[in-house]
């Protein structure tokens, strides 16, 4: 069993590191995920944030929602800055016996999948002790819902609209976890704010390693996925229960599915609650739906085989 495993919500009460009054939309999935991650994190903590919805909504100058040291950088270099902070603090703690700090870098899917991937790759390769969290809302929501490398097949965005020539995005989602795992880092995991216990314990586990770790968390977006503000957690849960978002971890190369879904709900249930994807249920788009289903099933089967290898 993990040392310091969190078992009840009451253990987390009072550990909030964000203040209310931030300007995120009502029902923002990213803020729920970030809030849970910060509550679970060990202290003292330094947060680095790439340009994203999170940065824009959390610090409307001259105010800030963060109750912990926080630095904002360009779109592409959150991982670089986090590694610089880690290296500097390592020297200070060696010279002056200072207390060790924990560092978390946040990036959206645009800042991780597309723009920040080379900085992330470099930081993982150099082996700095920090957590990189990618909160994935599957498009550039901050600038107005443009497609990104994380957008799933068939999803409608403003740059991949549904029309007569194309029906949403024509490419599959990039498998970022595999890119990260290929760096042979100590810990990488996917998570969902709907499964908060799984998420907070993955943060604790990531911080127990002396090296880089990566957490890929789904962050449903009410504006960009087009669902009611009250359904954020419901959508995140459906993503897990339909196997669209498998919850797994890769610990020193050993795969493990942390939330097995023996009886998955049909993928249609996840699609029909969001207007960006509900057009896939129309009979003329059956081919795209089959392709998306095949992608989801293949990934799940692959994960199952990999976790069986290390069981």
């Amino acid at each position: 069993m993990l040392v310091g495993e969190i078992k009840t919500i009451k253990e987390l009460y009072g550990l909030d590191l964000i203040a209310p009054g931030h300007r995120a939309c009502a029902g923002c999935g990213a803020l729920i995920a970030v809030r849970q991650i910060l509550m679970a994190s060990k202290r003292p903590l330094i947060v680095v944030s790439a340009t994203s919805c999170l940065e824009v909504t959390s610090t409307p100058y001259p105010q800030t929602m963060w109750k912990t040291p926080w630095v904002h950088l360009l779109f592409e270099n959150a991982a670089t800055a986090a590694s610089g902070i880690e290296a500097a603090l390592k020297v200070l703690s060696r010279k002056y016996n200072r207390q060790e700090h924990y560092i978390i870098a946040f990036g959206g899917d645009g800042g991780t999948f597309d723009i920040g991937i080379q900085a992330l790759s470099g930081a993982l390769e150099r082996g700095h002790r920090f957590i990189y969290v990618c909160y994935d809302n599957e498009a550039y929501m901050n600038t107005g819902i443009q497609r990104s490398g994380a957008t799933p097949l068939g999803a409608a965005t403003t740059t991949s609209p549904v029309g007569t020539k194309i029906v949403g995005k024509t490419q599959q989602k990039k498998d970022l976890m595999e890119i990260v795992v290929a760096h042979r880092i100590p810990y990488a995991a996917t998570a969902s704010p709907s499964h908060w216990k799984d998420l907070v314990n993955k943060v604790r586990k990531a911080q127990s390693y002396d090296g880089p770790s990566f957490i890929h968390v789904i962050a449903p977006c009410t504006r960009g996925w087009y669902f009611d503000t009250s359904e954020t957690i419901k959508v995140a849960r459906l993503a897990v229960e339909t196997r669209y978002w498998p919850l797994y971890e890769v610990e020193n190369g050993r795969y493990r599915i942390t939330h097995p879904v023996p009886n998955p709900k049909p993928l249609e249930e996840f699609l029909k609650v969001q207007r960006r994807l509900s057009h896939l249920l129309l009979p003329e788009n059956a081919e795209i739906l089959e392709s998306l289903k095949a992608y989801v099933n293949e990934r799940w089967e692959r994960l199952q085989k990999l976790s069986a290898c290390f069981a």
């Binding site: 009460y13 964000i18 610090t59 105010q63 359904e231 957690i233």
Partner: protein, 90 residues
Amino acid sequence: MASVKTTTLPGGIINRPGSTIDYKTGTWRVKRPVVNLDKCIGCLICWIYCPEPAIIKRDDGKIDFDYDYCKGCGICSLECPTKAIRIVEE
């Protein structure tokens, strides 16, 4: 050696943590959550899913809302296991 003059650009540093509390996002709300304290079991599931956070634990373990900041998204009402929270028009 000439001394290096450093200048700080205006802006860029915010030295009061959590200062967004000055801004009351409750004015955005069009619907308001109301808790039925007879049904509330104090499980805090609404609190862990609140994006603000705008839910406070009372001394008796049950919950209350901070209407200064609640944006009225309704996640708490949907996720409450005992259906103790209902959403009413402002």
